[in-house]
Point group: C2
């Protein structure tokens, strides 16, 4: 449902928010946790506007009435308190921020003192993430990855009946910018008689979105499909780094473990579901899909259960430098399962979600060439290297590589809503580990 | 390594701690978090002695010197702070507690004021559990469960190379006494053309131990096998409730999810590794086992890498009442992988452990009849019901059933070290869920 905050004609008294191509116009207003880089300052919550961060801790007292509580919590060192408040508090805050940051707002002089350039800040993971769940919602990822991991097996019989998911690691979720040493592990390549131990040879990225849970539920009390989105605060970019040779050896029968839990990287900014309202879409279904079980049926709401977010993955190599090479581009509009369906399925057995929990969508791949969301798919399990005109090639990631995810929404007649970036770099394996 | 605290001739000025068959003699001294039942009191840490709890928050100031910091943290509302201190703090606390609770201790008059009967308290989960990992360390469970889930498949090729594990749900770990409604889910039985939705028909328990992590590690810095146990605070009982029909349908390819995350129950008392020192043992290996990869080799320490804890599972039914029926009995002395190997494997890729994280051992089954650690194994996947002389039978758990785990260590020449109990009850499925 669109309202005055989505009006594409709105502009801000922060000039950079009015620039063409900005990720953060006054129609976006995403949340993060930040401090001035290189200082011992406390981390606190902020809202992006153009090239700036509005320091919500410094802005205490500016926002009153229905927005006051959410405004206070949006300045906290973690946003769990804000997330717990729910849409009835988030929406008044969005309206208040929109009005206060518009050109001509009376609050401008006071808020101008609360502005910090994004170029001068560093970010933290914006919530205390209690549990991290990663879903498997992309049909195309399922088909492509299945061809590599289980070439002789039929497509997964359960994929179109339920949003498959597994629990990931909360302790190793870090914010954009984290680098990591190539992880060690047990690997067995096809044809090897026995596994070997050493640094992974098949280091991959995964192009995902992730949702932060808003209000939670009590144990034993499922969240129905009609209410599911009320329990989601907003979305970020997620790179679920993966070691494919470790994964192939360890993951039977309990799923991926060390292949994934060495690091997952999130973008700092959380774009609220309300900001994404203009970019909703239906998700694809075909005539041979099985019926959706009643508890996962959204009725008329299914027609806009998806979000069309253009996501891209770029590779920076030591050789090519900042002349980045694009690896993947797709959108969750190709996904089979919606965020609402993920929430409802996750809780249908009474499982508890808590504010700040993170739900990954799984790798988002599309049907076309170049729309594969990871190197496993792009290189057909490493058998078809990617080549660039200057002679460089990749099957999997190499030491020194930097992977950057970017995401944005653009539809005619609406302001561009961006996610910023999610970046990480591969360091050589630690000797002797 | 045994010391004065293990001396079986020690007795306590708390009489019930000297009774034959007590779980909590002065040689045990496990930790929990408690308050007087039915009060609004704050939860705080305590130490079990006989039928009593020593209120460590009330005992502040009694313990000085090397034990002071650990004694203070052992009275906290969660024991993460105590766990973070490590063995160099835990062992002095154990010595100080042992001396202060012995018969004739000068502190007795002061500590007598800090004693609360266990019969009058309720417990909380003793730590803020950041991440819950469940391992798959029992060879016999692997063989037995494999026959049910994958009757035509060869034994898992990776089981004897690495301690298989997956991430569980932290938000639904509760302390002994929790009841729960039979969970709903998608189920497909063999032969069914399509899955159906409804309450699970195959509700099971899993007999496990679990270890709380002590000091953590930094991301990217593995914990070597020689240091691994320094990162473990102590052990409790764990019942990893499971819905087998849900598990069989959902778990390919990412592992169990809704089949397990509706509830996991822990016993309130954490028995420290130091208390268990007299009950160490070697773990079984056979001539056809593959070589242990170097990073998992404990050298001479492998000879006592295991713990011989007798664990039993008892069923209370509405029909039989408190005349409980024993379902399972076994010991982790039959396990293939040690706790130290689990810690080292978990971190070999740089994954971060944090104080208070929980590591489940997976179902502990032994080689003999009656040593199967869950109903899936005992009933051969539900095909062979258990029968009792009064005519009652079970394949899986029924509404109204209560499952009780108990554990203790008993070797000649040593004091009995008990774990208390871990209890939970099955309520009927919620209508309309």
């Amino acid at each position: 449902m669109l309202n005055e905050t989505h009006d594409p004609s709105l502009s801000s008294w922060v000039d950079s928010a009015n620039a063409a191509g900005t990720d953060f116009p006054v129609q976006n207003l995403p949340h993060a946790v930040f401090r001035r880089r290189g200082t011992g300052e406390a981390f606190r919550g902020g809202v992006a506007i153009g090239d700036e961060v509005l320091d919500m801790a410094a802005a205490q007292g500016v926002f009153e009435g229905a927005a006051a509580e959410a405004a206070a919590r949006s300045g906290d060192a973690t946003l769990n308190g804000l997330m717990a408040l729910g849409p009835a508090a988030w929406s008044p805050l969005r309206h208040a921020l929109s009005r206060a940051l518009r050109r001509g707002a009376s609050q401008a002089p006071r808020l101008r003192e609360c502005i910090v350039p994004q170029a001068e800040v560093e970010y933290a993971v914006p919530a205390d993430i209690g549990d991290f769940t990663d879903f498997f919602s992309s049909f195309h990822h399922m088909v492509n990855a299945g061809r590599v991991f289980q070439p002789d097996a039929p497509p997964l019989p359960n994929f179109r009946w339920l949003p498959i998911a597994y629990h990931g690691r909360a302790s190793t979720i870090e914010v954009s910018g984290a680098s990591f040493h190539r992880p060690h592990g047990q690997r067995r390549s096809p044809g090897d008689a026995a596994p070997s131990f050493g640094p992974t040879r098949c280091l991959d990225y995964e192009m995902e979105l992730a949702a932060y849970v808003g209000p939670g539920n009590r144990r034993g009390e499922p969240i129905g499909i009609a209410d599911a989105e009320q329990h989601l605060f907003g979305l970020c970019l997620l790179n679920d780094w993966s070691a494919r040779d470790v994964q192939g050896w360890e993951a039977m029968p309990l799923g991926p473990f060390l292949a994934k839990n060495f690091l997952s990287t999130v973008s700092p900014w959380i774009v609220t579901l309300e900001a994404l309202a203009p970019f909703r879409c239906a998700l694809p279904r075909s005539a041979d899909d099985p019926p959706t079980l009643p508890y996962l049926r959204a009725g008329a709401a299914q027609a806009d259960a998806g979000f069309d977010v253009h996501i891209e993955v770029w590779l920076q190599t030591p050789r090519a430098g900042s002349e980045a090479r694009r690896l993947s581009r797709s959108s969750p509009r190709h996904a089979y399962w919606s965020l609402a369906q993920m929430v409802t399925h996750h809780t249908v057995n009474g499982c508890t979600l808590r504010p700040g929990d993170l739900l990954g969508t799984g790798t988002q791949s599309g049907p076309g060439e170049g729309e594969q969301g990871c190197l496993l798919e792009l290189t057909r399990g490493g058998r078809q290297p990617l080549h660039w005109p200057d002679g460089e090639q990749r099957t999997y990631l190499e030491d020194g590589d930097t992977v950057v995810l970017r995401g944005w929404c653009e539809h005619p007649g609406h302001a561009r809503i961006g996610f910023g970036e999610c970046r990480g770099s591969v360091l050589p394996a630690r000797p002797g580990a």
